[in-house]
């Protein structure tokens, strides 16, 4: 395989060395030579050089001084310093200030120098590749952000119009006018909306950095109950919040966690149950908030308990998205919270969460 064309600049004040270098390496590399630091700089400015080799002992500007002077203007080329055996001070200076990749003693050994140039080029390539990858990732990230924004606006807006039309149909008493078609449209639209909202929650949880803002659990929980019990008014909530100290935490994620659990507690009630109940207890201390949410709903099969937090696990009843509890778990991971669950089939389920107080 032919080696890719590697451009090497060699700076030395001794013409003989430049000639010898050229003679040894011209077949492997594209060689540029300069008799002084000033000449070397001119070449750097016009040619995209990947490896720079400089002699330490030169009049006016030493090799290390030259490398130091180009750290900002030409940070990419990999540097190799050539110097005599005893020049320990130059060596220390080179390592500390010159961003030197290799140090090679004079007179050089062709094989050693050849290997050094090869390695230097690999280092150069790795550096550039990494930079390209980072730029690529930043672009992808940016696109994902825009995608999320467009889901939350463009994609959802027409769907919400459809839901609005269905509610108009209801108000005008036409809901049952075409058999069950309107109710099917309503079910499908609500399901799609639910998926969109959950998908957004998931991505936002992954991307947003955690924040710390004051959390008033009493207020938050009563707002969430309002939102989620909107479609089902049968369930009775008993809420006990013992919050004597301030709590600081990630409001967005705490809202996502409690919202999903409250909505599940309503959704997985027994249809025949006349006395649907959900108890929510919150105890806030300086260290953490302990929250327990229990319902007298259908409960969870013992063998399912392990799986409920995994993505896309769904029960056969009530076809969920398989995302709710997965998102709860992911959000808790981000804020170092914990969750445990206990359940009695046909008697109900209790989720217990602890969230550290960031205050």
């Amino acid at each position: 395989m032919k080696t890719p064309s590697v451009r090497v600049l060699y700076i030395d004040d001794e013409e003989n060395n430049l000639e010898a270098f050229k003679a040894s390496f011209r077949r492997q590399y594209e060689i540029y030579t300069a008799i002084s630091a000033a000449d070397g700089l001119k070449i750097l400015q016009s040619v995209n050089v990947q490896v720079v080799i400089a002699d330490q002992k030169m009049p006016n500007t030493t090799g290390v001084e030259f490398f130091k002077s180009i750290t900002e203007t030409f940070p990419d080329p990999i540097r190799i310093l050539l110097t005599g055996y005893t020049d320990i001070e130059a060596l220390a200076d080179a390592i500390n200030h010159g961003h030197i990749y290799r140090y090679i003693t004079k007179p050089w050994n062709d094989l050693e120098l050849h290997n050094s140039i090869k390695n230097a080029y690999d280092a150069y390539k790795a550096k550039i590749d990494l930079r390209n990858k980072v730029a690529e990732l930043e672009k992808t990230n940016d696109e994902l952000n825009r995608f999320i924004y467009s889901i939350s606006h463009e994609l959802r807006a027409p769907l919400v119009s459809v839901i609005g039309i269905v509610s108009l149909v209801k108000m005008e008493g036409l809901y049952n006018s075409s058999g069950e078609y309107w109710s099917l449209i309503e079910t499908c639209s609500n399901k799609l909306d639910y998926y969109i909202q959950k998908t957004l929650q998931y991505y936002k949880n992954n991307k947003t950095v955690t924040d710390e803002s004051p959390v008033d659990f009493k207020k938050l929980i009563s707002e969430l109950i309002d939102v989620y019990s909107y479609t089902d008014k049968d369930t009775r909530f008993t809420v006990n919040v013992d919050q004597k100290v301030d709590f600081k935490g990630d409001l967005f994620r705490i809202e996502v966690i409690l919202g999903n659990l409250i909505s599940n507690a309503i959704k997985y009630q027994k249809a025949a149950e006349l006395n649907k109940k959900v108890n929510i207890d919150v105890e806030v201390s300086k260290e953490l908030a302990q929250i327990s949410i229990s319902d007298n709903g259908m409960g969870i099969l013992n063998e399912h308990l392990e799986k409920i937090f995994t993505q896309f696990f769904k029960s056969k009843v009530h076809h969920g998205s398989g995302l709710g509890l997965f998102i709860v778990k992911e959000a808790l991971n981000k804020i170092e919270g914990r969750i445990s669950v206990s359940s009695d089939l046909n008697h109900g389920t209790t989720f217990k969460i602890t969230i550290p107080n960031a205050k």
């Binding site: 119009s161 108009l168 108000m171």
Partner: protein
């Protein structure tokens, strides 16, 4: 119903949503008259044209957020330049399908916005506001 809830102004670039919301308001009789504006510019134009004509001014504004050229927040920037005689009598509620946390917070922080309503418009929520 209170007698001062007479006119509502709907500002939305989406014709279908305008149609739905106008119909919903007329069925629920929450307002007697509906002023429909297809853009924020049109709404500003209407307000400045009728600035001194109390009979034509709205008592309530339902404002969409995402609109081309001038969005809901930009409308509010212009809205606050009207006299307090006008703005005091006419509260604004934003009405949007947004789920964006930033939008929600900006709406809550704006002194002229009494609430951010989520689409689809719920007559019950609207009734509670007025």
């Amino acid at each position: 119903m209170q007698s001062d809830n007479k006119k509502v102004m709907l500002i939305d670039d989406n014709e279908i949503d305008l149609k739905i919301n106008a119909k919903l308001i007329s069925i629920t009789k929450l307002f007697e008259e509906i002023i429909i504006c297809q853009s924020a510019e049109e709404a500003l134009d209407y307000l400045s044209r009728n600035m001194n004509d109390d009979d034509k001014l709205p008592n309530f504004i339902l404002l969409d957020i995402q609109m081309p050229e001038m969005d809901g927040f930009e409308f509010l920037e212009q809205y606050k330049k009207f006299s307090t005689a006008l703005t005091d009598k006419c509260p604004v509620a934003m009405l949007s399908s947004t789920l964006d946390f930033g939008d929600t917070q900006r709406a809550e922080a704006n002194p002229y916005v009494i609430k951010l309503l989520k689409k689809p418009l719920s007559p019950k929520e609207l009734a509670e506001l007025i």
